[in-house]
């Protein structure tokens, strides 16, 4: 918390200098936060044009630098700018692209509540009537503890891939909440989500990422078994 607060006040100081036309402050802000904007752009599904979207966002930052009121953290404000720029870009594209070929758009950010996606596949639970109904059919296996750097890196790669394969509203929420560490309230503001939807999207995203790690380990265990036999 302490370092996050210090970072936030550094951001404010840099932002004040940027307003006064200090180029070094602008450079420092871009260095600090460009990777966040690129990650958020990717999470919106702009994989090929994420860097470009982030650049457009910075240019927009320069244009409306005087409009920042300090009511939110600089990081949150930057994320909001990226989302607006990306939306404007999508609208422009929508005019030249046949409507049906547009994939998941931000319009389905509310898709959170439509279909029921369980956190854990129902086949994992005892579904027969009785005292154990709804309980784990087989015990949840332990994960190896990520004590070695190599294992942590391996698990992080699995997590990164799992996040990349999430549908974009879930991906955006998990990136902002768990990667960028924005508050639930800030994420709702940036993505224009209700608190309930935000929670559902985050829960689904985290559950799927956990399942991907589990899957990775169960594959590793069965492969090791095959190798030794």
């Amino acid at each position: 918390m302490g370092t996050a607060d210090a970072d936030a006040s550094d951001d404010l100081a840099l932002f004040a200098r940027l307003r006064d036309g200090d180029e070094a402050a602008f450079e420092a802000l871009v260095r600090r936060h460009n990777s966040m904007l690129v990650r958020l752009a990717r999470a919106r599904g702009l994989d090929a044009t994420a860097e470009e979207a982030a650049q457009d966002a910075w240019i927009e930052v320069l244009r409306c630098v005087d409009r920042f009121e300090g009511r939110s953290a600089v990081r949150t404000w930057l994320c909001g700018i990226l989302v607006n720029v990306a939306r404007a870009g999508a609208r422009k594209e929508a005019r030249s692209v046949p409507f049906s070929s547009l994939g998941a758009d931000d319009s389905d950010a509310n898709g959170a509540s439509d279909t029921h996606e369980p956190a854990v596949d129902s086949s994992r639970f005892d579904l027969q009537d009785g005292p154990w109904t709804g309980h784990w059919a087989k015990p949840v296996p332990d994960w190896p503890t990520p004590e070695s750097a190599a294992l942590t890196t391996e698990m992080t790669v699995v997590v990164q891939r799992a996040i990349a394969s999430l549908p974009s509203p879930q991906r955006e929420v998990i990136v902002l909440r768990d990667v960028e560490d924005l508050s639930a309230e800030d994420v709702c503001g940036v993505l224009e989500l209700s608190d309930g939807n935000q929670r559902v999207l985050l829960h689904r995203a985290r559950s799927k990422v956990r399942a991907a790690v589990e899957h990775h380990f169960s594959d590793a265990i069965s492969n090791a078994g095959k190798r030794s036999s």
Binding site: E23, P131, V140, D181, V209
Partner: protein, 87 residues
């Protein structure tokens, strides 16, 4: 282990983990959740795995690579704005 006190099913518990971890759960539901955990090793492991997952996700932020130099396009935009729009 007995099913006593397990009125909350594992299948229900896994849907409540995010609410539990963010602390938005009402006290009575929280007590039910924790009561279940006391008696269910699988759900304890599951919760631990969700915590591990969240921790691993957070690691994606600290980029090992230093940020690339700021794109010339952005510095140009900055200088143009300074010349043109300076008040």
């Amino acid at each position: 282990m007995s099913t006593q006190g397990l009125d909350l099913q594992c299948r229900e518990l896994v849907e409540l983990v995010t609410d539990y971890l963010t602390g938005v759960m009402p006290a009575s539901e929280r007590a039910r959740f924790e009561q279940h955990l006391l008696q269910c090793g699988s759900c304890r492991r599951y919760l631990g795995q969700m915590r591990t997952t969240i921790g691993l996700t957070g690691r994606l932020r600290d980029d090992a690579v230093p940020p690339p130099p700021v794109a010339a396009k952005l510095l140009d935009a900055f200088r143009r704005r300074k010349q043109g729009g300076a008040k």
